[in-house]
């Protein structure tokens, strides 16, 4: 029952994984189909541009207002939840958060945990942590369940199993659950329903994430379509919600536009099937619901992003995944290439704060800066601007004091020197002319191997005559310019 679930180890680099993913035609078809459809659904859900832009502006202001008083709101949230009977815990690291969760489960002598969808619990690698301590932690969102069954990680924050098609799921269910192989999606879902319903019944503890934590009323708001979130937060005797510290909003009314932005941006739905607002554990006269409700507030690098006024905007994120769906890089390389919990544009700007740039040095540069992510973001995070800022932090020397965790991961003294020489040449006309004179005469001496460029291109060789030279010649009337190359 309590088998250790091995997790695919990622020892390769982003580039290596990207190369593999690009060559996988099945994977690319699965992603292309899904992303095209998600983009269309979002577009259909916002038929009125003025309405959409007004709402995005409001969403941005609500998050900016919440962040501008974040510590106060967190204290207010804690006070109101505590008054409602919910126990609030704080964790700086994922290790601390796991310890808190484990101790709550241990106090109830729990052995089975059922989990609603939670990206923060993915950050914590809670399943593995608990499995190592003899506690089974089962995913109950259909997509997450499929991914867990195949010992994989989610490839999308909203659609965890989007990289798989129905045939792959059919084969997986056949192999792991011993059921007849069927390609019928309805039947596959019913298999999942029956298997997981037993788990909801047996579970000692339910774990969930939080979409919005409302300070004013001390309420945890969760959105979902399947009902697994309601199950996980209602059926077991204990409910533990885990969330990042940036999820708090000031007032109940603030969630009205955010909710609309979230579901329309994510899936093109006017609303999800369930919006579940939890404010307290079971009261003495009530007949169901958990006897204990806990909230674990996790930092895990968020306060690092918060410290910088520009990078703080990263924390506006409401995890809709629209930037992922619209990213030309993500659709080609897929979610697993990123090698971390959050893929795509949001992953590129949030992950460095969590794990440090040393671990994800390619994240800020794995982008064409096309700007689609920033354009669709429902809370108007200027993602391309964040990427450029992270690129700068990524090449800062230790002396320049990078502002991001493990900044300067790509700092190279050699590269810095080359740019300094380039700058000197280009700001000093005499030196520039001298350089041109030399470059055009000693052109054959350029190296034939210039790093990654020559992996796919022939080495560049300077022309025999410079443009200056040719222009001078042309203007002095010495006939047509001759011989560029």
């Amino acid at each position: 029952m309590n088998q250790r679930i091995p997790v695919t180890e990622l020892t390769s680099t982003f580039r290596e994984r990207a190369t593999g993913a690009l060559a996988d035609q099945q994977l690319r078809t699965n992603f292309r189909t899904a992303m095209d459809s998600l983009m269309q659904k979002r577009a259909d859900a916002f038929p009125d541009e003025d309405e959409r832009e007004g709402l995005r502006e409001l969403g941005n202001r609500i998050k900016a207002r919440a962040l501008s008083q974040l510590p106060d709101l967190l204290e207010q949230l804690e006070a109101n939840l505590t008054a409602n009977g919910v126990k609030v815990h704080w964790a700086e690291t994922t290790e601390e958060a796991n310890q808190i969760v484990h101790s709550i489960i241990e106090a109830r002598q729990g052995t089975q945990v059922v989990k609603g969808k939670s990206m923060v619990s993915e950050e914590m690698e809670m399943n593995e942590y608990l499995a190592d301590r003899g506690i089974e932690c089962l995913e109950s969102d259909m997509g997450e369940y499929i991914v867990q069954l195949d010992h994989e990680k989610p490839s999308h924050i909203i659609m965890p199993a989007i990289h798989k098609n129905r045939h792959q799921v059919a084969r997986l269910f056949h192999d792991k659950l011993g059921v007849d192989e069927t390609d019928d999606v309805d039947e596959l879902i019913q298999i999942g329903r029956r298997t997981l319903r037993r788990k909801f019944l047996e579970a000692d503890v339910g774990v969930s994430g939080v979409n919005f934590a409302i300070a004013e009323t001390g309420t945890l708001l969760l959105v979902e379509n399947e009902g697994n979130g309601r199950m996980s937060t209602t059926a077991p005797p204990v409910h533990i919600a885990v969330t990042g510290i940036e999820k708090v909003v000031q007032n109940l009314r603030d969630v009205v536009p955010l909710l609309s932005l979230l579901t329309r941006s994510a899936l093109g739905q006017p609303i999800t099937t369930y919006v579940n607002m939890i404010s307290s554990p079971r009261k003495p006269d009530e007949l169901d619901g958990p006897e204990e409700v806990h909230l674990v507030l996790l930092d895990n690098g968020r306060s690092g992003a918060f410290a910088d006024a520009q990078l703080r905007q990263t924390l506006n994120c409401i995890r809709c995944g629209a930037c992922i769906n619209h990213c030309p890089v993500y659709v080609r390389v897929g979610g697993h290439t990123y090698g971390e919990v959050y893929p795509g544009p949001i992953g590129k700007i949030i992950t460095p704060h969590m794990v440090g740039l040393q671990k994800v040095p390619d994240h800020p540069s794995a982008s064409s800066l096309c700007g689609a992510c920033g354009e669709v973001c429902p809370v108007k995070i200027p993602i391309p601007e964040m990427l450029q800022r992270l690129r700068q932090e990524n090449v800062k020397s230790p002396a320049e004091g990078p502002k991001v965790k493990d900044g300067g991961a790509k700092y190279s003294a050699k590269e810095r020197l080359i740019w300094r020489v380039w700058k000197t040449l280009n700001t000093s006309p005499a030196l520039y002319r001298l350089f041109l004179w030399g470059a055009t005469r000693f052109r054959k001496l350029t190296p034939s191997n210039v790093g990654p460029w020559t992996e796919n291109h022939t080495a560049p060789v300077p022309a025999r005559r410079s443009l200056h030279d040719l222009a001078r010649n042309h203007l002095s009337g010495n006939g047509s310019a001759k011989g560029g190359q």
Partner: protein
């Protein structure tokens, strides 16, 4: 406590010299696009809910129990969970007795722990009241309580919800304001917009993921 203090201190040091941003919430943005005249309100609700496979029937506050019996008979179901302690629950029970219905009426009258297995596997349908509905998004507002606990609208494969026509609001914002939710929230408050569903496999929509496979809404007109 140290994690708490460390986090708060780090956040506070990032805000030195700043002031909280003003609350410039513009309620027009969440109300004006979502306003309907009384006739359109039900139409909007119906369109939204039918788009996600919800069945809606307009009945009267007198004859609705007949519709419940009809819905159950069409599906050949054996039992129905109801709440006799509520006004609508007792109305249903009375009708059941007077018309000699064969479908067994069940009651959620004990803590979940005492009948978990039965409730999880053997209840075919439930009928509950609602606090009202939101036309814009096609959502029922469900406020579970002692009489109609949280799992009552979640576990049975068929959920029949009663909605008074007069309690349909245009949008979530006006619903929230009118009912003064910010003054105090119950243990659990739900917006329910259709039967449970998932699109996690190839984005193919499938109904009956973990919650009800079917949602039937009876809109009660005051007779």
């Amino acid at each position: 406590m140290s994690a708490r203090n460390n986090i708060l201190q780090k956040l506070r040091s990032g805000l030195v010299g700043t002031t909280p941003r003003p609350d410039d919430f513009d309620e027009r943005l969440v109300t004006e696009p979502w306003q309907y005249n009384p006739d359109d309100r039900i139409r909007q609700l119906r369109t939204q809910m039918e788009a996600v496979h919800t069945e809606l029937y307009q009945v009267t506050s007198q004859n609705w129990p007949e519709k419940v019996a009809e819905v159950l008979a069409a599906r050949n179901l054996g039992n129905l969970l109801h709440a006799p302690g509520t006004e609508h629950g007792s109305q249903l029970a009375e009708y059941w007795q007077s018309s000699g219905q064969s479908v067994e009426l069940l009651t959620y009258d004990r803590p979940i722990e005492e009948w978990k297995d039965e409730l999880f596997w053997n209840v075919d349908a439930s009928v509950t009241g609602t606090l009202g509905a939101i036309a814009a998004t096609g959502s029922l507002v469900v406020w579970p309580d002692r009489m109609e606990p949280r799992l009552m609208s979640l576990l049975p494969p068929l959920h029949i919800a009663l909605l008074k026509a007069s309690e349909i609001e245009d949008n979530l914002y006006t619903f929230m304001k009118r009912n003064n939710w910010s003054a105090g929230m119950p243990t659990n408050l739900l917006l329910v917009s259709g039967p449970s569903k998932t699109a996690d496999i190839e984005q193919v929509l499938a109904f009956g993921a973990h919650g009800p496979k079917e949602l039937v809404v009876l809109i009660l007109e005051d007779a």
